[in-house]
């Protein structure tokens, strides 16, 4: 019970005093066997002590025409109980009602706190380099393009690019990834990450309100505004619930006595007493809070793992996903090419050396595959890249040509070996003679390897949709054990596949979000990968994975199922208890004690249940 607000502390003290006073009063009443009037005189001060603000608020509500306010109904119920000589019941109702309210207030402020924890990630001040001097400025005064000094062990105050220095950074607060990341000059640095071992100078690229953390925060807050099916149901329900209960109470109080064996007037007090139980459980508050609270907790738990949901509706939809579609390159694979096989009649080590020499310094994605192959830099000259075709170079006096099949054929060099022609095979000619070929392949991400089995455990079908060549896609499918794979697809083909999937149930699509925008929008739930930098991804997706890890999709599904189960439990449980108490009340089997216990008990249990989502961990 730490960190209560002043209002909450005051309320807690008041509740404790009331408990003591009630116990004293109870002792006094039973010891002296006081009559009704004296009992009332003893209890009334206690009643007013715990309930004065509620009675005052009830009066104000009536002044405003709010006859279905919970405060008014509680007041009617307790005043009715006092009038019927059930003074102790009246106090008990108010006491438990206050306990319930206090609990609700603590639970919601705790949930709110979990969101503002994210906001406190960024320091309030930045150390800005102005000429030769260091100036400490509040972060909202730091202009784009300023040089900001980040000390070892402190957090990056604003998004930027490393200008000077290199260090290990802890991204765990943003992405949930606990392994430190090494970054150097020219690398992007989002606000909120922690510099671990060395100071760096950062050139800022965004103002504080546009920083990644601010964007995540506003996304999460936006999420609460896009209410899901269950939340809309419960708010609509709450608007009708109270009037219905009050109306039923009136029927029990004034119509039921007509059918009593006693005369109407003689039976009336007993039936009014029954009706009061209705008023006590007329407040739907716990129910109304517990639903958004569960989703709120879920988005908090997800954010800790680097999954940002843009709406609570997305969490609901995700729970019933049947088919999960994934883009291949960049999503399931690293997008970095590695040498897969070498096909030559000559020396394969020599072939690699030649290829590495040709690709030296190239920015082509395939060139990265040769970065680790040693060659003699001094012997390389006349290197020339022909865009979209290949590279020519002189190396140790040999004329090298490396590139597509067409590149060699155009130069009149016949290929004397049968090799498949594709974008990821490079052909080498030495002094106008065909030498051999290297097949390159994109490597699957380490995290992606367990993905299909996790999805299978959740009975979700896993499918790869890729624009890449069919053979490559099938190859990745085999390595990652996906259920299905389709290659050579255009963006509109992907949309067609997902549309077909939508016919069979809910779908999800995870992709990099730039060329995948239409398909992200088509799927029931679209996951954009590495969305921290890309605004296009954030726009079209329903959820953003901040760290490119596709395995988080499976976690997100199990989290959403868990939250939905919690929500359904809460709705079913609360409705069941309330209706059961009303039924017992109408039959005269429940008194106000039971009713208030049921009401507050349901609130407390529903809220505790909802908060479980905040602490959800995948087993």
């Amino acid at each position: 019970m730490k960190k209560l607000t002043r209002k909450q502390k005051k309320q807690l003290v008041r509740i404790l005093i009331t408990v003591v006073l009630t116990a004293l009063a109870l002792f006094f009443i039973s010891f002296f066997k006081t009559n009704r009037l004296v009992t009332l005189a003893i209890i009334l001060p206690v009643y007013l002590f715990i309930g004065y603000d509620l009675l005052w608020a009830a009066l104000r509500d009536i002044g405003n025409g709010q006859i279905f306010g919970e405060k008014f109904l509680m007041s009617v119920a307790t005043i009715g109980a006092l009038a019927l000589g059930e003074a102790l019941e009246a106090v008990a109702v108010l006491l438990f009602f206050s306990i319930g309210e206090l609990f609700e207030s603590i639970a919601t402020s705790k949930a709110r706190g979990s969101l503002s924890a994210l906001a406190s990630l960024c320091p309030d001040e930045a150390t800005v380099l102005q000429g030769e001097t260091l100036v400490s400025l509040p972060i909202d005064e730091v202009e784009v393009g300023s040089s900001v000094l980040v000390f070892a062990g402190s957090r990056v105050p604003l998004d930027g690019i490393i200008q000077k220095g290199e260090a290990l950074f802890d991204f765990s607060s943003l992405t949930g990834e606990s392994n430190p990341v090494y970054l150097k000059e020219g690398d992007l640095l989002p606000a909120g990450v922690l510099a671990l071992d060395a100071p760096v100078t950062v050139k800022t690229t965004h103002t504080s309100e546009n920083s990644s953390t601010a964007r995540i925060l506003s996304l999460m807050e936006e999420a609460l505004e896009n209410k899901g099916k269950h939340e809309r149901f419960i708010t609509r329900f709450s608007l009708y619930y109270t009037p219905c209960v009050v109306f039923s109470a009136l029927i029990v109080a004034f119509l039921f006595p007509l059918f009593s064996s006693q005369s109407y007037l003689a039976a009336l007090p007993a039936f009014i007493h029954r009706a009061l139980t209705f008023l006590v459980i007329s407040c739907p508050c716990a129910l109304v809070i517990s639903v958004p609270l569960a989703f709120f907790g879920a988005s908090g738990a997800a954010a800790k793992k680097g999954i940002i949901f843009k709406s609570t509706a997305a969490i609901e939809e995700l729970a019933s996903v049947k088919t999960a579609y994934f883009d291949k390159t960049g999503t399931l694979t690293t997008g970095q090419f590695k040498i897969q096989s070498i096909n030559t009649k000559h020396d394969s080590a020599k072939l690699l050396e030649y290829a590495a020499a040709c690709e030296y310094g190239s920015r082509h994605p395939l060139a990265a595959a040769f970065a680790d192959t040693p060659f003699d830099q001094g012997a390389l000259s006349a290197q020339k890249e022909i865009r979209g075709m290949g590279v020519s170079a002189l190396y140790h006096g040999n004329k090298l040509l490396l590139g597509k099949k067409e590149f060699l054929e155009n130069k009149g060099i016949p290929l004397d070996m049968e090799t498949p022609s594709s974008e990821t095979v490079l052909y080498l000619a030495v002094n106008s003679d065909y030498y051999g070929s290297v097949t390159l392949a994109d490597t699957p991400k380490e995290e992606a390897k367990s993905l299909s089995s996790s999805l299978r455990a959740l009975s979700v079908k896993s499918v790869i949709l890729s624009g890449d060549r069919n053979e490559c896609v099938i190859d990745t499918q085999k390595q990652l054990a996906f259920d299905e794979a389709h290659g050579s697809l255009l963006p509109e083909d992907k949309v067609a596949y997902v549309k077909a999937g939508n016919q069979k149930g809910k779908t999800l699509f995870a992709g990099d979000g730039i060329n995948d925008a239409p398909v992200l929008a088509t799927a029931s739930v679209g996951f954009a990968m590495g969305g921290l930098g890309s605004d296009a991804a954030i726009e079209s997706a329903d959820a953003v994975l901040t760290d490119d890890d596709p395995a988080k999709v499976a976690y997100a599904i199990s989290l959403s199922r868990f939250s939905l189960a919690v929500v359904k439990e809460n709705i079913a449980f609360a409705l069941f208890v309330k209706f059961a108490v009303m039924l017992l009340g109408a039959l005269g089997l429940a008194n106000l004690w039971l009713a208030i216990f049921a009401d507050v008990g349901v609130s407390v249990l529903a809220i505790l249940n909802a908060i479980r989502t905040l602490h959800y961990h995948n087993k």
Partner: protein
């Protein structure tokens, strides 16, 4: 046009639902949504709506339902 307002002392979740319903019915309001947990009111105004006038009415609705609750303008 969408605007987000902070609410103060909003203590009751189903009161928030009532306010939301009331504000959504105001002339010049296309959509209104209150998040009890973040204590924020999001209003999508209709084309050419008088924002000040709408917010005056919205504040009155909030006050009527929960006298302590204020919209921070």
């Amino acid at each position: 046009m969408k605007k987000i307002y902070q609410l103060e002392d909003l203590d009751c979740a189903h009161c928030a639902a009532k306010m939301e319903k009331g504000i959504a019915k105001l002339a010049g309001v296309e959509k209104a949504s209150i998040s009890f947990l973040s204590q924020k009111l999001t209003i999508t105004f209709a084309e050419g709506a008088d924002v000040d006038a709408v917010m005056k009415e919205a504040a009155a609705i909030c006050k009527k339902i929960e006298p302590d609750c204020r919209i921070i303008l």
